[in-house]
Symmetry: C2
Subunit: 216 residues, 2 copies
């Protein structure tokens, strides 16, 4: 088995790999909230274990083995988030920190049974896909609201920013997963967006539009 720190590094490399081919030492340091020198030490260790592909000064990618572990941690994280929201009635902005601890509970049998208990959910409370017990999941092809034009629209299916502050804001505006929205107007001045939702009209900033994901 791997240590807590190792698991967190693998998970972080996985997340950062979605936006860049190679993940750099500094990127990782910023993401994990640690120093670059600490990252270098850990990268050596993970490379020795065969979990990453690491060339000094050139950044890292996950190996097949490393990716498998990372996806499994993400599966656990998202299933526990689903559990916390659907079974224990937590709000979607309250569960991240708890799931951050729970994702390291080691038993796979446990997580598979939890999956079954909840009816094999496909998405977590933030719309992120939950890998199945084989690590398979569809990366759904979502667009930020900021990427579509006037009179276009779709269904809210995810968020880019997972911070409690952003999630609380969305909830207050009823901009929740499953909601249908249409772009009514884009303000030329600040590129803020006026949305048409069920019954109501609503203005959101460019910042918000960038972080709100929809399926067309």
């Amino acid at each position: 088995m791997n240590t807590l720190a190792e698991e967190n590094y693998l998970k972080s490399i996985y997340h950062l790999s979605l936006n860049a081919e190679n993940v750099s030492t500094n990127q990782l340091a910023a993401f994990i909230n640690t120093k670059a020198s600490s990252v270098t030490d850990m990268l050596k260790k993970l490379a020795d274990k065969g979990l990453i592909n690491y060339t000094p000064y050139q950044g890292v990618t996950l190996s097949k083995a490393g990716e498998k572990i990372a996806v499994n941690i993400i599966r656990k994280h998202r299933l526990w988030e689903y559990f916390l929201v659907e079974k224990l009635d937590f709000k979607w902005d309250e569960v991240h920190e708890m799931a951050e601890e729970m994702e390291h509970i080691s038993s796979n049998e446990l997580i598979d049974r939890l999956d079954k208990f909840m009816g094999y959910p496909k998405h977590d409370p933030h719309g992120d896909p939950i890998p199945d017990c084989n690590g398979l999941f569809k990366i759904h092809n979502l667009k930020p609201v900021s990427a579509i034009g006037v009179h276009e629209g779709g269904v809210i299916c995810g968020v880019r920013d997972h911070s409690p502050a952003f999630l609380q804001y969305l909830e207050k505006q009823s901009l929740i997963i499953g909601k249908k929205i249409t772009v009514k107007e884009i303000n030329e001045f600040d590129r803020s967006v006026i949305l048409q939702t069920a019954g109501k009209e609503l203005q959101i900033s460019r910042e918000v539009a960038n972080n709100l994901l929809i399926a067309l």
Copy 2:
């Protein structure tokens, strides 16, 4: 907050305190599966934190603060065991190791909601009492089967030995929590006990009788 190691020491001291006033360094070392010198180091640390009462060479007891933490960990352990058995269909001999990890999930809000979700159970799958959110619970007054005489009996309400091997044996013999039994005969030679249970007669060794707890 306290580290994983600190929590495990406090929990262990609590458990050992049930059988002896002062817990000795060697007792702890054996229980935690570590060396006496490591125990001494940790005891100093816990004493500095005010969680135990420690006099060198004289063993330890928990302070009020330490006991509160220990009971909270035990509450978490037992609630997670209940969850694993009642919601995820694990058997009573399969859950200890998993709960050993889960008891360290820090959120109290989480455990209180889990408690509510399950309907505030009073006992874990092995019959041990679950402390409530204030740390209160009844230490029920159980006797081992070996302590009662012929024609006496009661209801199985707990076990002393929590090892999978023992629990599996009991399950195979249908000696499970809630079962009514009566002592029919005690073999003079090896002090093994013949039990009368619903319909069946059953012989158990002294060893088993010592570890099977009943309420009269």
